[in-house]
Amino acid sequence: MAVRDVVVIGAGPAGVETAAALRSRGFDGRITLVGGEDALPYQRPPLSKGYLTGATTAADIELRPEAFFEAQRIELIRGDRAARIDRDGSRVVLGSGRPLPYGNLVLATGSRPRTLPLPGASLEGVLSLRGLPDAEALRRRLTGPALRMVVVGAGFIGLELAATAGGLGHDVTVVEAHSRALARALTPPMSARLTAEHRERGVRVLLRREVTGLCGDSSGRVRTVELAGGERVPADLVVIGVGALPNVDLAVDADLTAGDGIVVDDLLRTSDPAISAIGDCARFPSPHLGRHIRLESVQNASDQARCVAAAICGDRTPYSAVPWFWSEQYGMRLQIAGLSTDHDRTVVAGDIDGLRFSVFCFRRGRLVCVESVNRPADHGIARRMLAGVPDLSPEDAAEPGFDLKARARQRQLA
């Protein structure tokens, strides 16, 4: 008899939500969740924010309590990693040698921080942020005496760290090679406003500056960050935040199609239909862009988890969720609905100086993305609009005093 059991590799939000959704849909086979880490599965977004200040504790960020896994008959394997996939034998072999037979295998292996091949990258005091141990190492330093901290990379992680560390009284410099912050993720007006806010709050943001090396003292601690052109920035702590790479090794070793992500179809199946890939590690066809993309977000992880659990239970609905993202810096709430990739026009509505505004992004006249700061109604309404055919033109958005919430309210009453 064929094995129905599901093995999920990776116990981040993608993996945990897959296991949970299978059970809540009534899947009755064995479910094994291979964690790798020692901690109970946790939420990552607080690791660059409240977890570093102590406002958020380890218990606050648990995805589910330990009793949940027992009650739901989900075997959670911690501290043992998947070593290889034996596709001919339909089993995963763990590092400990334990075999896990599967009917369906879900790869939710996540991503890891990209490293920079810099001289001095292994000095004491040079960190990156991905998991709980990284956050603990950072928290120990950031809750101590004031430091000179250099963040390499003005992405979400880098800017959130800069805001958190600045708020704790540290002297923070952000160094970014590109001509603007969050160049891949945000439109120019949003990126400019965010950069201005950091500068107003005392964070130095250096753009178009290449880091060429890190120098330490005789005890091996980092002391200086060297930039192209010879500029030197003193540093007691350096955090590298230059993006993430998908964890594809298991898939590649098993001859599944993979490159920058494990390639899947619209039902999130890899080149082997018994194996799916979801979350940060998956490269999937986006109906919103008409090509394969990879996204690193909680939304993508949890929506793909529900999609793959449904498919395993026989409900094969192609993945089409509207991507959305959020960030929090200095208590301001940045939310992004949709993908601004390839947009050709932006319209700013609201109070940009007072930090209550949205940037509406259009591609050939069609709304494709809305970036909002402290305008959660705009964000929510935009997500709904982007799930269908949005009826908002750039000219509408550019009307003086345009307010998406007032428009929605009027339509509700109409």
Binding site: A20, R23, S24, R25, Q43, P45, P46, I61, R64, P65, A67, F68, A71, Q72, V298, Q299, S302, D303, R306, A321, W324, W326, R333, Q335, R375, P376, A377, H379, G380, I381, A382, R383, R384, K405, A408, Q412
Partner: protein, 107 residues
């Protein structure tokens, strides 16, 4: 501790004893009640823990903050007079017996 009743759109009912300091959202998540997503983890960002408070409710619920009100504009199922985000309702003895109705869709 409070007894919370979650009524599903298909007519089925889940009754849970939820301990403080959880929220009505967290009570559903830790017991794997289908129909509550809470993708943002309970920070009133995403609107995927939307519930309708039972129309006969007389229990005292915390007032709605502006951010919750704003987020409710973007829920997947229509917003009604009795819409709330379940992550903004802390569990306490005061809400023992609360009945919430789950919407057709959260995302």
């Amino acid at each position: 501790m409070a007894k919370i009743t979650y009524k599903h759109p298909d007519g089925t009912v889940t009754v849970l004893d939820v301990e403080a300091p959880n929220t009505v959202m967290r009570g559903a998540k830790i017991n794997n009640v289908q129909g509550i997503e809470a993708q943002c983890g309970g920070s009133a960002q995403c609107g995927t823990c939307h519930v309708y408070i039972d129309e006969n409710n007389t229990l005292p619920l915390p007032p709605m903050h502006e951010s919750e009100d704003d987020v409710l504009y973007g829920t997947a199922s229509p917003r009604r007079e009795n819409s709330r985000l379940s992550c903004q309702i802390p569990v306490s003895d005061d809400i023992d017996g609360l009945v919430v109705h789950l919407p057709e869709a959260q995302v």
